[in-house]
Amino acid sequence: MFKQDMTALLRRHGLLFAFGIFLAGVALTTDTFLTVGNFLDVIRQVSITGMIAIGVTFVVITGRFDLSVGSMLTFLTVIVVDQHNVSGPFMAIIYVMIGGIVIGAINGLLIGFIGLNALIVTLAMLSFLQGLTLFYSGGANVNVQNAQNTWFAFFGRADLFGIPVPALIFILTAIVASFVLTRTTFGRQIFAVGGNETASKFSGIDTRKTIFFAYILSGLTTALAAIIMGSRVMGAQNTIGQGYELTVLAGIILGGTSLLGGSGGIWRTILGITMLGFIQNGLLLLGYPYYVQWLVTWVVIILAVWIDLGAKRGKVFA
């Protein structure tokens, strides 16, 4: 009886268990891992990926992709940093928010309203934004000129109640996003569109608009992430966001949101992203070179999804 309960529990929360074991393992071998400082460090480091992942989760639940977020992050970070010098921090933030919304809207227009394939459209956007960034910056790095005394430093560098501000912004956004997704009509529409687009249309849902707004959210959270990034680094290179789209997706998948759409959630995403963050941090603290974490990520993703699927089907291995 007890054994049965245990296996059932393991199946349902296998991922969390495995993660717990990993954390315990690292904590036993290094003494710096289990410190508040390190914990806050990780949360701060994942806050950028996490912010983006929150927006992308909406898109993924509608059954679509957004591979343009990495390039978008680069582009918007370059803008926010450069405009900080030109128009001041306030306007820079406004510009970047508008930028994120506009890019999201273009994606949303092509994918939601015209009905083009999301994978390819956002790939095209990835390439286009890379070009646009280089065009804007002329390939040069941009830097905030008075990094030491601008209130812009608040977003990426400050602490509030002993917690890093980026982590606070991240958690706050997550709470709001989770509320929107689970408790509002818009959230319900997102799930419906991902679950069955035709049936949603027959239910009077404007599926095109729903998809459109999901991409806008993805653009918006990426813009917020760019503000944090710009503030944290006080500068930007033209490659600063490279590869973020994949980390974000890996985190979302690890959290258990299905790429087929119709299911998933913000807290799952946060769990997935944080796990990735701790894996990276733990391995670095154990002294492994950074690329070992890639190998581990591979294994963890496959096992996590496999166990998760198995649990849903009522057996661990198909």
């Binding site: 059954g63 687009e197 690329y291 890639w294």
Partner: protein, 324 residues
């Protein structure tokens, strides 16, 4: 029986265009660069383009097979890098050709691993191969110790410089593989099974087709071909870069989709894929000849991709709903 389908004289033309719009696109791009650059329409340059296209081209062959199955392989770039690293890194200890063979084997093995996980677990290939894209790159870095590996005997780099007229051996291998696999797709049991699996997997399963085996074979071929591309690249460069083939999976997918192969499966030919690969290669080459700044190239690539999608969309008149 209900009335037969209406057929107008335009239908065959429309059908042909629907299936081959990439070649129209190709001709337009080709013509435009012929006019724009005096160096474009030269035997030497075209021969280079063909060779340059071969790497993405060979990856695209495997990707097409996998996509006909209704799946995707994001790991090809990383697999290419691993094969190229092994082909070079092992030369000193076991000799050139055994090393090349090991490189090839690594691709086959990783492809088979991807395919097996996908078939057995039922996890979507996007996830499995996204994992592999990240993890195999890790393997490459562990194997190379982050450094580029170099051949000790540079005569290894002379192999790809064998030419048959304007055709390099690399280009010939690409075209040869494309024809071989096109024949396999149209004329063998495995090929027809691949379409039927991508088209209607339940029907295929009910008809006793071993769906899992078919997918595993295609992923294995895809991995093997990625290794072939990696080995050819190692011969071209004489060096194995740990970052070789980074984001090439994206270029490959772009080429294949540009050709008109559907991500939803069941539809596409290598004839279309070659069209996509060549269009892409000609565009990149042409833009370079015109000395276009890289940001223009990136922006043009993005715009062209969207245009190709729009063209396909309006030609077929049906909105592609969601994929993946």
């Amino acid at each position: 029986m209900s009335t037969p389908n209406k057929v107008s004289f335009l239908t065959p033309i429309k059908n042909w265009l629907l299936r081959n719009h990439i070649w129209v696109f190709f001709l337009v791009v080709f013509g435009a660069f012929s006019l724009a650059s005096p160096y474009f329409l030269t035997v030497n340059n075209l021969s280079n383009v063909l060779t340059q296209s071969a790497f993405i081209g060979i990856l695209a062959i495997g990707m097409t097979l996998v996509m006909i199955n209704g799946e995707i392989d994001l790991s090809v770039g990383a697999v290419l890098a691993l094969a190229s690293a092994l082909a070079i890194g092992l030369q000193d200890s076991i000799g050139v050709w055994p090393a090349v063979f090991c490189g090839l084997l690594s691709g086959v093995a990783l492809g088979a691993l991807n395919g097996t996980i996908i078939a057995l677990s039922g996890i979507h290939s996007f996830i499995v191969t996204l994992g592999a894209l990240i993890g195999v790159r890790g393997l490459v870095f562990i194997y190379t110790g982050e450094d580029a590996l170099m051949v000790s005997d540079f005569s290894y780099t002379e192999y790809p410089e064998i030419y048959l007229g304007p055709l390099s051996i690399t280009a010939m291998i690409f075209l040869g593989l494309a024809f071989l696999f096109q024949w396999i797709l149209t004329s063998t049991r495995h090929g027809r099974e691949a379409y039927s699996v991508g088209d209607n997997i339940e029907a295929a399963h009910d008809a006793g087709i071993n769906v899992k085996r078919n997918k595993i074979i295609n992923f294995t071929i895809c991995g093997g071909l990625a290794a072939v591309a990696g080995i050819l690249l190692s011969m071209r460069l004489g060096t194995a870069e740990p970052n070789a083939g980074k984001i090439w999976e994206l270029w490959t997918i772009i080429a294949v989709v540009l050709g008109g192969v559907r991500l939803t499966g069941g539809y596409g030919t290598l004839w279309m894929t070659i069209g996509g690969v060549l269009t892409l290669a000609v565009m990149r080459n042409g833009l370079r000849l015109l000395s276009t700044p890289n940001y223009v190239e990136l922006m043009v690539m993005g715009a062209v991709l969207i245009m190709a999608l729009l063209l396909d969309h309006f030609l077929s008149g049906i909105s592609r709903k969601k994929t993946s």
